[in-house]
């Protein structure tokens, strides 16, 4: 059942006079963040803030061209630099069997190139020096001779028979094919398309989701400190998944896993950019091993943009078969995916295209089929990043763009078309035509709420009036369903590691507590929300709960924070570990109250005898008793703590309705986002303030991708987006004041009914914005235009010259 009323008025703004922040929830509710007092004082500790005595600095030499054979490397001049401690090439690493490392998708990637370079800015050598400037100076002294090779840059030509073979390092590789993948039923889908061609309508559109980059404000960095005596490696690192990284380092470097401690300190934004293991981390570990001193590597902005995990790069042909009345019957897509030089996507191994299979959207279909070919090109590796929910961003963009294409051809209102095709509430749990089981949903109230907040009918009237005057106003809608919280152990693993998360809770004698998580915040506020989950379950106030995360020596194993999985997986683990503690507390309470366990009931931190509210003990009383002198109920150990590993039985399926209003200047083709209404449903809300923040951030991402951002290359493979002067990210000038609302449809299988929210807005907003721009351009007879909708690209579209960005 959906609750359409806001749990709180999320558009309420705190002022020094109102009491919005006065309420201190002992559980769920708006609560100021525990992280903030240190961060506003500049007392956070980010990776590049870490300093260890004797620390040296590492810098990486990168390839100037996209595809070239390494003929020779002369490092003698660099080695002669007075402040240089080591210069290491791929050949040096190969001598230790460390020149290649596994990627998270069972491919391999060069740590430092040995045979040839496969993308511009690939890692070729590293220097370790006494300070960061000297390390960079010495890079200039390394003389590398390259033999130019023809690069593969145009993804559409990557599979041509005469295309140069990029991955000749792989045995028997004779082409640039990476993998093929399919979902759904091709025959059943074609049968419906055949029928629709005769009796209904079929729409087809070529849709490009260009390469973009998460570009977190903090670039990637690490400090590797391998103690030569104990053999223990401590690695401070910008990682969203410290435990998974530790295991991979153990496998790559051959270090025993108990001798590796990965610490993720404060992380300055991740968005999937900090999931992969980058050569810089491995180089730093090797350097510390070789030199016996701590080594810091901190990449600059250019290195971040040109070499670390990009996102998207999908060329999609979308097709919808529908009745003439607008009932969508089937969806089909053919995708060409550019994975760059190494397949470095961080997706569960059985899902090489991530969760793109959820491309059927929020609609009840008769059939669906997706086929994809992924290829290698001479570009940086990556692919699953930028809050993409494992490629659901691409899937949602495809279906939500295609629904508008259908609406255009049928001359139907896009809101009405969506409302007519939603999966109905009684159909949940709903098995999609590609085999995904949507846990819960009630779409129409969410859509109606967004339309009400936007004043949809009035906006259409205003648009009609403006069109009469030649003004270009557009209204764009998207309705998305995500699948987040990977994932069930039977289906999902990364490099053989099940996608579960551990959680440990210890209640101290005085009733304070520490909870230890396997996930890691990059700004999502885990130190606050996880304390709130524990508080909700056992009644210890959030301020009395210390949340420990981002340190593999001090937290239980788990796969980390990405794909909006912290709340669905680790949040469930936190709730369940607290219930375990509560169960034990109830037994202790029964002894203290001299009642049977069944006669004791719990409410908000207090245990009382049923029907006798006077006799009660608090969780704090119980904590002291659990650790104190005197007998406990028979068979019970002392202490009050528990640990679990949570394996989710399904993903969670948050959804939302977004409406965007744009104005396009007919004289300059500049797009102005005038309004953006976002109604999200992420199930039970832990902290509405943080949820609103997550949504806001994702909406700005959407403006960036739809209108500004693209990692582009010239025909030689030179990356043209290597700085923030070239890769444009929205500032406060390009985004509107967001209008947010919520409905609440709890997840039936999650212990507290919560779903993920971290990526919803990044996933859902690009189609709303593009749909709005295309809607504004309707007087020009435009049915589709590809992102990024920069003024020049919109201008070309208005003149009938629209071309894909790649």
């Amino acid at each position: 059942m959906t609750v359409t009323e806001d749990p709180v008025d999320t558009n309420a703004v705190p002022t020094p006079d109102n009491n919005l922040n006065d309420h201190k929830p002992n559980g769920f509710g708006r609560m100021l963040r525990k992280e903030d007092p240190r961060l506003v004082r500049g007392r956070g500790q980010f990776c590049d803030d870490v300093t260890v005595p004797g620390m040296l600095h590492l810098a990486i030499l990168r390839a100037p061209m996209a595809h070239a054979r390494i003929v020779s490397i002369d490092k003698s001049a660099a080695e002669a630099h007075p402040k240089v401690k080591a210069v290491v090439t791929g050949e040096d690493l190969a001598a230790h069997n460390l020149a290649w490392m596994p990627t998270l998708s069972n491919d391999v990637q060069a740590v430092l190139a040995t045979d040839k370079v496969r993308f511009q800015h690939q890692e070729v050598a590293f220097v370790v020096a006494e300070d960061r400037y000297s390390a960079r100076d010495a890079l200039e002294l390394i003389d590398v001779e390259y033999e130019w090779l023809e690069p593969v840059i145009d993804v559409r030509k990557a599979l041509e028979p005469d295309a140069p073979v990029i991955r000749d390092d792989l045995d028997g590789k004779t082409d640039n094919h990476c993998f093929d993948w399919e979902a759904g039923d091709a025959e059943a889908t074609e049968a419906i398309f055949a029928d629709a061609r005769e009796n209904g309508v079929v729409v087809t559109e070529d849709i490009v989701y260009p390469r973009v980059h998460p570009a977190p404000m903090e670039t990637c960095a690490c400090v590797a400190d391998l103690d030569p005596v104990s053999g223990k490696l401590t690695l401070w690192s910008t990682t969203q998944a410290p435990h998974a990284h530790r295991t991979v380092y153990a496998l790559v470097a051959g270090l025993p896993e108990h001798k590796i401690r990965v610490i993720a300190p404060d992380i300055g934004g991740g968005f999937g950019n900090k999931v992969p293991i980058y050569p810089g981390y491995v180089c730093s570990i090797v350097a510390s091993l070789l030199i016996g001193k701590p080594v810091k590597w901190a990449e600059d902005r250019t290195e971040n943009l040109v070499s670390t995990g990009f996102a998207r790069d999908y060329i999609m042909r979308g097709e919808i078969a529908a009745t003439k009345e607008g009932k969508i019957r089937a969806v089909r897509t053919e995708v060409l995916a550019d994975h760059g030089a190494f397949n470095g996507v961080a997706a569960p191994v059985k899902y090489p295209a991530g969760f793109f299979g959820v491309f059927t959207g929020s609609y009840d279909l008769e059939a669906a089929y997706a086929h994809m070919s992924a290829v290698y090109t001479n570009k940086a590796p990556g692919g699953v990043a930028y809050a993409c929910s494992f490629r659901i961003t691409e899937a949602v963009y495809l279906i939500e763009r295609m629904v508008d294409v259908l609406a255009y051809d049928l001359e139907m209102d896009p809101a009405e078309l969506r409302l007519n095709n939603f999966i109905q509430p009684e159909q949940f749990p709903y098995e999609s035509k590609t085999g995904w089981v949507y846990d819960s949903g009630d779409y129409e109230p969410t859509m109606r709420k967004a339309m009400g907040m936007a004043g949809y009918d009035e906006l259409r009237k205003e648009q009609a009036e403006k069109r009469e005057r030649g003004e270009l106003m557009g209204i764009g809608i998207s309705f998305f369903t995500e699948a987040v919280g990977a994932g069930p152990r039977k289906d999902m693993d990364i490099l053989g590691l099940g996608m579960a998360d551990g959680c440990e809770l210890r209640v101290h004698p005085t009733g304070k507590a520490v909870v230890r998580l396997s996930v890691k915040t990059q700004g999502q506020g885990h130190e606050t929300t996880f304390a709130q989950i524990i508080a909700e379950e056992i009644g210890i106030p959030p301020e009395d709960i210390d949340v420990v995360h981002g340190d593999t020596d001090n937290t239980p194993f788990g796969l980390g924070t990405y794909g909006s999985r912290s709340t669905p997986v680790s949040g469930a683990a936190a709730a369940l570990v607290a219930r375990k503690v509560r169960d034990k507390a109830q037994i202790i309470a029964s002894g203290m109250l001299e009642a049977s366990v069944a006669d004791v009931e719990y409410e908000a931190g207090t245990f009382r005898i049923k029907g006798d509210p006077e006799k009660s003990v608090t969780i704090q009383d119980i904590a002291m008793k659990a650790h104190g002198a005197g007998d406990l109920p028979e068979g019970l150990e002392g202490g009050l703590e528990a640990q679990i590993c949570y394996n989710p039985e399904n993903l969670t399926y948050p959804f939302g309705a977004y409406i965007c209003v744009v104005d396009v200047d007919p004289g300059t083709a500049e797009v102005k986002v005038r309004r953006f209404v976002a109604v999200d449903d992420c199930g039970t809300q832990i902290n509405p303030m943080i949820i609103e923040g997550q949504v806001h951030g994702g909406l700005a991402d959407g403006v960036g991708m739809a209108l500004m951002e693209m990692i582009s290359f010239d025909e030689d493979g030179n990356c043209l987006a290597g700085s923030l002067m070239d890769y444009l990210i929205p500032t406060a000038m390009e985004v509107p004041d967001w209008e947010t609302g919520h409905t609440v449809t709890p997840s039936p299988h999650h212990p507290i009914g919560a779903k993920g929210i971290g990526e919803s807005a990044t996933v859902g907003s690009p189609p709303a914005i593009v749909n709005a721009v295309v809607d504004a351009l309707k007087p020009y007879g435009i049915r589709h235009a590809d992102m990024p909708l920069t003024p020049s690209r919109v201008w070309e579209a208005m003149r009938g010259n629209h071309t894909p960005p790649i």
């Binding site: 705190p14 980010f46 404000m217 506020g525 002067m725 004041d737």
Partner: protein, 162 residues
């Protein structure tokens, strides 16, 4: 070369390379890591500090250029252990998530309010337009600055700029 500057009220002298950027001087030599290094091209603003009373991008300022000047960083925002209203506003209005852009944003916000105690939303947007936040989508940052403006109007405070 020997460079002396006043940082958050303390005179500090260091022997540095002439090419040293102010951001690296502040972070690596003076240990004030609240100022961040984000882009090298003056686009992101995570490195914003004050030189005298003017917010500048310390990633494109040489430390030597600030010799003899007053530099103020986020670590200098508090007064006698009391948070600046801007810092308080960021906490109250969820104006930060990862916290990486936050010091620079707050330094710019402080400078804005010192010049314009009651800025409009448009003026706030323009003031922070040289800075990027990847987490918040800016609305809560704007609310944070408005919170601070309102707080200061209600309880006039001595502007702590030196």
């Amino acid at each position: 070369m020997e460079v002396t500057m006043n940082v958050n009220g303390d005179e500090v002298t260091r022997d540095i390379e002439p090419r040293t950027l102010l951001v690296h001087h502040i972070r690596d030599h003076l240990g004030l890591t609240g100022t961040h290094w984000g882009c090298d091209t003056s686009n992101c603003g995570t490195c914003v500090v004050w030189v005298d009373d003017e917010p500048v991008k310390s990633c494109t300022t040489l430390a030597a250029m600030t010799a003899g000047h007053d530099v103020r960083t986020v670590e200098g925002m508090e007064t006698d252990g009391e948070l600046d209203p801007v810092q308080e506003g960021f906490i109250q209005c969820h104006g930060l998530q990862c916290g990486f852009c936050t010091p620079g944003m707050m330094m710019t916000a402080r400078a804005l309010l010192d010049r314009n105690p009651d800025p409009t939303e448009a003026e706030i947007r323009e003031a922070i337009s040289g800075q990027i936040c990847r987490c918040t989508g800016y609305s809560t940052i704007i609310r944070s600055i408005q919170w601070a403006a309102k707080k200061e109007q209600e309880t006039p405070v001595e502007v702590s700029a030196s």
